[in-house]
């Protein structure tokens, strides 16, 4: 394939750039020294003064970029991108009981959000009921408590499930939450063909980050693959997995590690599904991804572009997928929670806007923008609305969505995209050498890499090599100002009491025989290694609670205890 630059011309430009550096730049720097000894991205990629065609001398347009909607999809997975349809504005929401969250979802819909995303509380995330001793003091704090089909029904009271798509950030208990969702949609009269949304259902990253694991790695992956297999056969519009770099990044990984570990997770899942005898094109178009948009602007854009190009190659060339949709890396993005500061919290609005802009310039399919008050608590309505408005300003005022992949062809962005990609491939090769991500996770490899990167970042901040405005530069003494930040208030103890009461009611009103039989059948299916999903759905409809379903599965699969790596 031809390169876009004339060879002689590139050579001349390279010589000129070299000349510029030793003559012009040198003179300038003598008078006006650079601000820092070196400039690096958050992945520690060294950044030069300026980029020219000589930095990407053999750049082939066809090979590296292609057209939007065409292989390798660097410029975007759709030919129309945001000119036809904007990204989905999907705000991660939930707190208290189902009633509070139902109200919040309606509030966000009313203010223009275009997709739903449920945040669950810790008991739900790890699959225990509100009356379990482990749940004490935690019900409804970081998200909504949904321990049964009855609770899910209240969450969607008055919301037409045939008209919305819903993301559920849920992992080990994903089969149960999907079952609750499907059962409620059915009750609303929505046919399976119209049920749309996403279950995160990404077990491997739970062992590296997020840490809501329950089962040991192998059964955890088995359960997740069950959900995917059942879903591709029964719910044609459902994204059964969201292969997530977000939490990996938030746990301290660099952009390169986030990209590499996420794709390596994806590779593992494709292998697992193929090993079940599934044709790659039967499930690959339903795989979706989830990335972080951090504050180092260009590196993030490079990461998103590299991700699409790498996944297309993996699916087409490694796994032999034939359907172009199998080559698409469709992704949701969330701005970086870890980049927010408790100091001068209003500045977080600006950080989030910049990060959201990177996600849009990187071609995301859907976006959550964090609220400025999140270093303290789950967002207030006021803060969540500003975060949503931030997306709307980017979409409707800035014009950045009016042409596709506008940064393509920037010498710097293309060089950085190549660099991020090359470094990510090195990690993937290493993980492949260990036998894939499941093995690498069991060895603790990504866990250690992430812990090292997190520690290095904190040392860099502490020792003044990285700046955070309001924290280690331009800091103020502002305790009284921070006290004035209006935070979400709700009665947690009352929520916990109400949720305990509701689960007790569910237990007392159900058909006890049908309930006991459903859990018994689930246990036997799990023991025999069958796909558990139909049995979980059956149990959910028999009013088995989240905790009961999970306890049944724990008895068969066991429980993971982490070796602490730091």
């Amino acid at each position: 394939m031809g390169t876009i630059f004339n060879e002689d011309e590139v050579k001349k430009i390279g010589e000129k750039a070299e000349q510029w550096k030793v003559v012009t730049l040198k003179q300038w720097v003598e008078r006006l020294p650079e601000r820092q000894e070196s400039f690096t991205t958050l992945s520690d990629i060294s950044i030069k003064e300026v980029y020219t065609p000589a930095d990407i001398p053999n750049f082939s347009y066809e090979e590296k970029l292609g057209m939007p909607g065409e292989y390798p999809f660097t410029r975007g997975i759709h030919a129309t991108m945001y000119r036809a349809r904007l990204w989905t504005m999907r705000m991660f929401s939930g707190y208290g009981g189902p009633e509070e969250t139902n109200k919040r979802l309606k509030f966000l819909i009313e203010h223009g959000e275009t997709g739903l995303s449920l945040a669950f509380d810790y008991p739900t995330l790890v699959g225990v009921d509100p009356d379990d001793p482990m749940a004490e003091g935690e019900v409804g704090i970081v998200g909504v408590s949904v321990p049964s089909v009855v609770d899910m029904d209240v969450v969607f009271n008055g919301i037409d499930m045939s008209k919305v798509t819903t993301n559920m950030t849920i992992n080990p208990p994903a089969p149960a939450l999907l079952a609750f969702y499907v059962a409620v949609a059915e009750k609303q009269g929505v046919p399976y063909t119209q049920i749309g949304g996403t279950t995160q259902n990404d077990p491997l990253k739970e062992f590296m980050a997020q840490k809501s694991y329950v089962f040991p790695p192998e059964p955890a992956v088995k359960v997740a693959m069950d959900l995917i297999e059942w879903s591709v056969k029964n719910l044609p519009k459902w994204n059964p997995i969201s292969i997530s770099g977000y939490h990996i990044r938030e746990a301290g990984a660099t952009a390169v590690q986030e990209l590499a570990f996420t794709l390596a997770d994806g590779i593992e899942y494709v292998r697992q599904l193929k090993n079940r005898g599934l044709d790659v094109d039967s499930f690959a178009p339903r795989l979706s991804f989830f990335f972080d948009a951090h504050i180092n602007f260009f590196e993030e854009i490079a990461k998103f572009r590299a991700a699409r190009r790498m996944w297309a190659k993996i699916m087409r060339d490694w796994f032999g997928a034939k359907n172009p949709r199998s080559w698409w890396l469709r992704f949701h993005t969330q701005t970086a929670g870890v980049s927010l500061t408790a100091q001068q919290p209003w500045n977080n609005i600006v950080r989030t806007a910049i990060e959201a802009l990177a996600a849009v310039l990187g071609g995301t399919q859907s976006l959550h923008t964090n609220s400025f008050d999140e270093p303290f608590r789950v967002p207030s309505e006021f803060a969540a609305k500003i975060a949503l408005r931030t997306q709307q300003i980017i979409a409707y005022e800035t014009g950045v969505a009016d042409t596709i992949d506008p940064l393509a062809g920037s010498y710097y962005v293309e060089w950085l995209t190549d660099e991020v990609e090359e470094r990510a491939w090195k990690y993937i090769d290493k993980i492949e050498g260990m036998g894939g991500m499941l093995e690498a996770v069991k060895k603790g490899f990504p866990q250690r890499e992430i812990a090292d990167a997190a520690y290095k970042f904190q040392k860099d901040v502490d020792e003044g090599r990285r700046f955070i405005v309001g924290v280690n530069v331009f800091a103020e003494n502002e305790v009284e100002d921070i006290r004035k930040v209006p935070l979400l208030e709700f009665d947690q103890q009352e929520t916990e009491r109400r949720q305990k009461q509701r689960i007790a009611q569910v237990r007392s009103m159900r058909d006890q025989q049908r309930w006991a039989r459903s859990l018994d059948e689930l246990r036997r299916a799990a023991e025999k290694g069958e796909n558990i999903m139909p049995y979980v759905l059956n149990a959910a409809k028999a009013y088995a609670t989240l905790g009961e379903i999970m306890n049944t599965l724990k008895e068969v699969y066991g429980v993971y205890v982490e070796p602490p790596i730091y």
Binding site: E138, A451, K459
Partner: protein, 150 residues
């Protein structure tokens, strides 16, 4: 950073810190970073891992003869879990072990945590240097009290 590298309070044994995650919270980035910073500063560190109950942490601290307990909570359930931890420590005879807490904690809750007996609270953005200094000071205080009180 000089304060982080030199720790020589007693010759017999280094200060020992329990770094603990209470409740269901899985956000362990901060706990691990701090465990490592304390280790690099010469402390002996026992990191409990996630999902510990107040009773488990109190028992570990007493059995390990810890000089300080550092609790990390980013789940918003800090008041509930820390209250229980303080109760357990006092029941089990470990109320002389100073407790510090860090995490996503609204300023309004800092006063409440201190009322419960927490010696210091570290909010987002805190430097490792200050955390290490505070932990050292508390550990020194505890050892001094042990020496004078027998």
């Amino acid at each position: 950073m000089a304060s982080m590298s030199s720790l020589q309070y007693t010759e017999e044994r280094p200060f020992k810190v329990i770094v603990a995650k209470l409740g269901l919270d899985g956000h362990d980035r901060g706990a691990k970073v701090i465990a490592r910073a304390l280790k690099d500063a010469g402390f002996e560190v026992v990191y409990t891992g996630i999902r510990q109950t107040p009773e488990q942490v109190a028992r570990a601290a007493i059995e390990e003869d810890a000089d300080v307990i550092g609790v990390s909570i980013l789940s918003g359930a800090h008041i509930h879990h820390v209250r229980l931890l303080m109760e357990k420590l006092s029941e089990m005879g470990g109320s002389d072990i100073p407790v510090v807490v860090g995490g996503t904690i609204p300023i309004v809750d800092v006063d409440e945590l201190k009322r419960l007996g927490v010696r210091d609270v570290f909010l987002p953005g805190e430097s490792l240097g200050r955390i290490v200094d505070v932990v050292r000071k508390l550990a020194e205080e505890k050892r001094r009290a042990e020496l004078s009180g027998g």
